[in-house]
């Protein structure tokens, strides 16, 4: 067996298993588990002896194989309702293998397509700028949310201020409320706390609305007035927009 050339080309335990099935010319629907388990474990030993990093998934599949093997060795359970024709313990694994194999083939057929910049090429030169297009000389790019978060990450990576790193959905929920409050205040000039809450008064909304008001007061963007103790709290913009 030529282990040494094969070891690093597996994309994972399923890939290794498919390779063993092909190599032994085995019917995937009728896998001789004992043989395959033995060969699979041999490969893992080989990988370990070569100090290759064994991803945990390889060991999980090894355990699965051993478990299936032991179940096949047991006599069929007597309390099986469907007349002893219990489910083949290999069925789940076979299904997973077939699914993986289908995607592996799909990946190959994708790669076989005429790929841009490998097999076909689009116009190489940057477009000539017709006179009269006011157009910044900055590079134009298309954006998605991933680019946005990546842009933010790379900026703050240079800041080494840990508090800048803390972003969580709570902060964002708070910002949603802040935006809503500012929007409504610029329309109505003055609002009470309960007017801000509106119909929807779930606990989370109350908490975030309250936190948003505190944040806005801290930022000196809104003012809060109270006529007396326990009086209604009225909110207004600190500065007219």
């Amino acid at each position: 067996m030529s282990y040494e050339i094969k070891l690093d080309i597996f994309e994972g335990p399923l890939d290794l298993l498919l390779y063993l099935i092909r190599k032994n010319e085995i019917d995937i629907y009728n896998i001789p588990i004992a043989l395959i388990t033995e060969q699979y474990l041999e490969y893992l030993d080989m990988m370990r002896s070569l100090n290759l990093d064994l991803a945990g998934e390889y060991l999980v599949l090894a355990a699965t194989l051993i478990h299936i093997k032991s179940r096949l060795l047991l006599p069929p359970a007597e309390d099986e309702e469907d007349g002893g024709e219990g489910q083949d313990p290999r069925a789940d694994l076979v299904r997973q293998l077939l699914e993986y194999q289908a995607f592996k083939e799909a990946a190959l057929s994708l790669e076989a397509r005429p790929l841009l910049d490998r097999d076909v090429f689009s116009r190489g030169a940057p477009a000539e700028d017709p006179a009269g297009v006011e157009d910044g000389d900055e590079l134009m790019i298309e954006v998605g949310v991933f680019e946005l978060v990546e842009a933010f990450r790379s900026i703050i990576a240079g800041l080494d201020k840990s508090d800048d790193l803390v972003i969580d959905t709570e902060r964002m929920s708070l910002t949603d409320r802040i935006n809503e409050i500012m929007e409504r205040l610029s329309e109505k000039k003055q609002l009470t706390f309960s007017e801000l809450l509106g119909e929807r008064t779930d606990r989370k909304r109350i908490v975030y609305t309250f936190l948003a008001i505190l944040e806005l007061m801290k930022l000196r963007m809104i003012r809060a007035y109270q006529a007396g103790p326990f009086g209604t709290i009225r909110l207004s913009l600190a500065v007219e927009g």
Binding site: G12, Y100, E105, A106, A107, D117, S122, E128, E142, E150
Partner: protein
């Protein structure tokens, strides 16, 4: 040569990305979409028949001039750079996303049987895969899908042009056991 064909050729040629019929219709408001499509078909056929260095092709929902596939060796000589290829892991991950989108990472991991973080990150950076949204289940996992650039790079008109995935036969049925 009909002037409209010249305009269509020019704007497709000047566009950085495949140009959709919708955009063409916006730029040429006096031309019906139906007429545009007929003219485009004519141009496609003309370049094909001419067998010059490039052809007009329909990709990623639009039209773009691209060099003929059999001339690639000459262009590779010009560029003198080996094309950046995707690793098998990246291709597998991309295939899973392409066929099963919208899909969460845990599902990709399950199908491939390995952790796909690295491959997924590479595909996001190459803009072949994008974050589509979040699934409304506990933990709000991110949902992934392919991008327009994926269609451009893989020379696909749309996702429907992907070859069909091999049918997964029912395991129980053909099980020899």
């Amino acid at each position: 040569m009909e002037e409209k064909i010249a305009i269509i050729e020019a704007i497709i040629f000047a566009s950085e990305a495949p140009l959709t019929v919708e955009r063409m219709a916006e730029i040429m408001p006096d031309t019906e979409k139906k007429e545009l499509i007929a003219l485009l078909e004519k141009v496609v056929r003309e370049y094909e028949a001419r067998r010059g260095g490039f052809c007009l092709m329909e990709v990623a929902g639009g039209f773009q001039f691209r060099t003929r596939q059999d001339l690639a060796p000459w262009i590779r000589k010009l560029k003198a750079a080996r094309p950046a290829m995707l690793s098998p892991a990246a291709l597998e991950t991309l295939a899973v996303v392409a066929y099963r989108q919208p899909i969460v990472k845990s599902e990709i991991d399950r199908i491939r049987g390995v952790d796909t973080s690295g491959a997924l990150k590479g595909l996001l950076e190459k803009r072949l895969v994008r974050i589509v949204g979040r699934k409304d289940v506990p933990g709000k996992p991110i949902i992934y899908g392919t991008t327009r650039k994926f269609l451009e790079i893989f020379n696909l008109r749309d996702l429907a042009e992907l070859p069909t995935l091999r049918e997964l036969k029912d395991v129980q049925e053909s099980s020899g056991a």
